[in-house]
């Protein structure tokens, strides 16, 4: 049988297509982006007219997927871990409504913060919402779990979370595919009050969700993703979750594993399976990627029982990505010291591309703002956040998408002047527009710079939701058109840019400045594609 060398993300995407989704919904975010990109390029998805356009943010993505599920069809929604904060309202409530067509949320966590603001562990969200969570340990499991998750979702009438982490999302291995099934026909929910979360209905739904918990646990006990393997040394029992299973087995490659162990791939935790392990062993060690969630739960399960080790007592590090080295050391294995990194080696952080429009827009702004001292530019999530690094070191906040505008507003409210927000076009339409409306309503004295490179550059140049609409959006929100200033950020326009920034900072009110020039990477890619198209014709 043909096998495919898939990234974990690609395996998830192909599985969703093969499970007959009618729509994929997502906002880009490393390490989750390739799921949607794969579906966008899939000939099967094309043939079946699967919806696969980017959404404005994770909340709109999640709610639209829920609407597709309401209509009886299967939907996949994808995001990175912090995206789930944005979609959390919809997500938590979708556990109360339940689903009609299967709904699977693929969420990719980023332990080690390779490309994120934090290391939050989405499994807690799954527990919080009280829905099943599947956690694959390899690419084949990512495929199989995603494929079956839709059925599980329909069986329980609940959304199902597929929890990925960077290492699985961005690592390749061979994957075999299952039979591709066709999308469902439209069909309304049997109970037309299912999606009405008015308190009188929601109370009933919530009781229904609580009643499903037993079934979910029973399914976890039977799941082939949760199992025990025997070992002869009974003083330690090992519990491995997701990728932890690989790192643990890596330590013993070519040797027999001495300890009894349980592998967890489906939550809620299979309590009986774990109690059986506890009964056999003197102590337990939990190996999980992310926060010590299972470790905490096990301590609760065995309140009066045996010691549970892991990240809470320092057997494993509390932060960063899990590695086989760490797991080996937790098991008291000593390794010869590896070669050190020679001292001459210096860090090579990511940097702006040469000729980037953000740089020209930012340098001019920095020159103007320098006259007022340090601390005036609030920034946001996007390539321009690189202005925090040398040689610029000129932004003072980067917190969550959209926060530049609202934090600048809060500082302006406090009497701080000048308050400047520097935000990208995609981040603006993701979560900046509502903050701008607050500022319009209060005539806040601040300048919002929307650096428009006409794409979502940081995550690979996706199509932004507000392309060609930024001025109209700002005007529509009520920004005075005389104080919406647009220019092309090029070094040769330095003087004009400086003058415009200066005028708008001095204007006692709300201004929006839009430097607009296409991202260079995007332009190169576009030209290459055009050339290829021409060559074909």
């Amino acid at each position: 049988m043909k096998r495919h060398l898939f990234l974990g993300n690609e395996a998830v995407a192909q599985a969703a297509i093969d499970a007959g989704i009618s729509g994929a919904y997502a906002y880009p975010g490393t390490p989750s982006t390739e799921i949607m990109e794969y579906i966008q390029h899939s000939p099967t998805a094309e043939e079946r007219a699967v919806h696969r356009q980017w959404s404005a943010n994770e909340k709109t993505a999640y709610e639209t997927a829920l609407g597709m599920s309401y209509a009886g069809r299967r939907a996949l929604v994808c995001m990175k871990q912090v995206g789930l904060n944005v979609a959390a309202d919809a997500f938590i409530n979708s556990a109360i409504t339940g689903v009609n067509g299967g709904l699977v949320l693929a969420v990719a966590d980023d332990p080690g913060m390779h490309s994120s603001q934090n290391e939050q562990d989405s499994r807690y969200y799954g527990r919080f919402a009280m829905i099943p969570v599947l956690e694959p340990s390899n690419q084949q499991e990512a495929y199989d779990m995603c494929y079956t998750a839709f059925k599980l979702s329909e069986q329980l009438q609940l959304p199902v979370m597929l929890r990925l982490t960077t290492r699985l999302s961005h690592s390749r291995a061979a994957v075999s595919l299952r039979q591709s099934v066709h999308p469902h026909e439209l069909h309304l929910p049997q109970n037309l009050k299912q999606f009405l979360l008015l308190p009188i209905f929601a109370r009933k739904n919530y009781v229904g969700l609580l009643e499903k918990q037993h079934r979910m646990e029973a399914l976890s006990e039977q799941s082939s993703y949760n199992f025990q393997e025997a070992g002869v040394h009974r003083h330690l029992g090992i519990v491995c979750c997701g990728l932890g299973w690989n790192y643990f087995r890596e330590v013993f490659v070519g040797r027999e594993i001495p300890w009894p162990r349980v592998k967890i791939g489906q939550y809620p935790l299979p309590r009986n399976l774990l109690e059986k392990l506890e009964a056999e062993c003197d102590e337990l060690l939990v190996i999980e990627e992310g926060y010590p969630m299972v470790e905490e739960q096990l301590r609760g399960f065995f309140a009066a029982g045996k010691p549970v080790h892991g990240k809470l007592d320092g057997w494993l590090p509390r932060y960063g990505e899990l590695t086989s080295d760490q797991v080996g050391r937790a098991l008291q294995i000593t390794y010869p010291a590896p070669y050190p990194v020679p001292e001459v080696v210096v860090p090579r952080p990511p940097s702006f591309c040469r000729g980037c429009g953000h740089v020209d827009a930012f340098e001019a702004l920095q020159e103007v703002v320098a006259g007022y001292g340090a601390g005036h530019i609030f920034s946001d999530i996007g390539c321009y956040a690189l202005a925090a690094l040398p040689p610029y070191q000129g932004i003072y906040s980067c917190v969550d998408m959209g926060a530049s505008i609202t934090m600048a507003k809060g500082a302006a409210d406090a009497g701080f002047f000048p308050a400047v927000a520097f935000i990208g076009d995609s981040t603006f339409t993701h979560s900046g527009m509502t903050g701008l409306l607050d500022a319009v309503n209060e005539h806040t004295n601040m300048v919002v710079v929307i650096s428009d490179n006409q794409c979502v550059a940081m995550t690979g140049g996706q199509q932004p939701a507000g392309l060609g609409k930024l001025e109209a959006i700002c005007e529509g929100l009520g920004v005075d058109p005389a104080h919406i200033r647009v220019f092309t950020p090029l070094h040769k326009n330095q003087e004009d840019m400086i003058r415009i920034y200066q005028e708008e900072i001095e204007y006692d009110g709300l201004s929006v400045v839009i430097p607009r020039r296409e991202c260079l990477q995007k332009a190169t890619r576009r030209r290459r594609q055009e050339k290829q198209k021409q060559a074909k014709n």
Partner: protein, 195 residues
């Protein structure tokens, strides 16, 4: 049999293409493969690394254990050294000599070469000269793939097939140029004393 390979370089140097060719070839030759890549922010001119693991038995972890890599392939000398903790004491370091300069504080390159020459098994490839001879500055990654090819349990022909596959959509000329680069890398290493 197992071969753990670290590929190190700078975002934009074409590490992912090298990794893709290697792992596809390995899969076609019936080996188990895992290949961990760097995506996202670091691809913006930052340090990137790929872990490639081939074996005739199941590969468990996506990442190589420290001190266990059989080969460390550097598309750039400082990036090669950055990944040194992964290299086995008897592992081979194969690196391009030419620095990738996008830093104000890049160290003197001779100091990097000195560090590399301390290793018991190393090959320094004059990537700059070879790309110049080929009049193809973009082919460095294929030169380095060629340089690596004698140290891995894969047929050169499978790798060449991989090159053809990867560049097929981009035209016959590009395929030929990349094959030439691959051969040039192989030829360079063939002339060096075996390590």
């Amino acid at each position: 049999m197992k071969k753990d390979i670290i590929l190190a370089g700078v975002g934009g140097q074409g590490i992912l293409s090298v990794a893709a060719i290697l792992s596809n070839a390995a899969m076609l030759e019936g080996l188990w493969v895992k290949q961990a890549e760097t995506h996202g922010m670091s691809q913006r001119g930052g340090a990137v690394v790929a872990h490639l693991r081939l074996a005739d038995h199941e590969v468990c972890a996506d990442l190589i254990h420290h001190g266990q890599a059989d080969i460390l392939l550097g598309l750039e000398p400082m990036e090669a050294l950055r990944q040194l903790p992964f290299l086995h004491t008897y592992g081979v370091l194969i690196s391009n000599m030419e620095p990738y300069l996008n830093l104000p504080n890049y160290p003197p390159v001779e100091e990097l070469w000195t560090e590399i020459k301390r290793l018991p098994r190393h090959i320094l490839v004059d990537g700059g000269v070879i790309t110049h001879q080929l009049c193809n500055p973009k082919a460095l990654n294929m030169i380095m793939l060629g340089a690596l090819s004698d140290y891995i349990p894969l047929q050169a022909d499978s790798l060449k097939t991989g090159i053809c596959e990867l560049f097929r959509t981009k035209g016959e000329q590009l395929v030929q140029q990349n094959l030439e680069a691959f051969d040039a890398g192989r030829a360079f290493v063939a002339k060096q004393p075996a390590v």
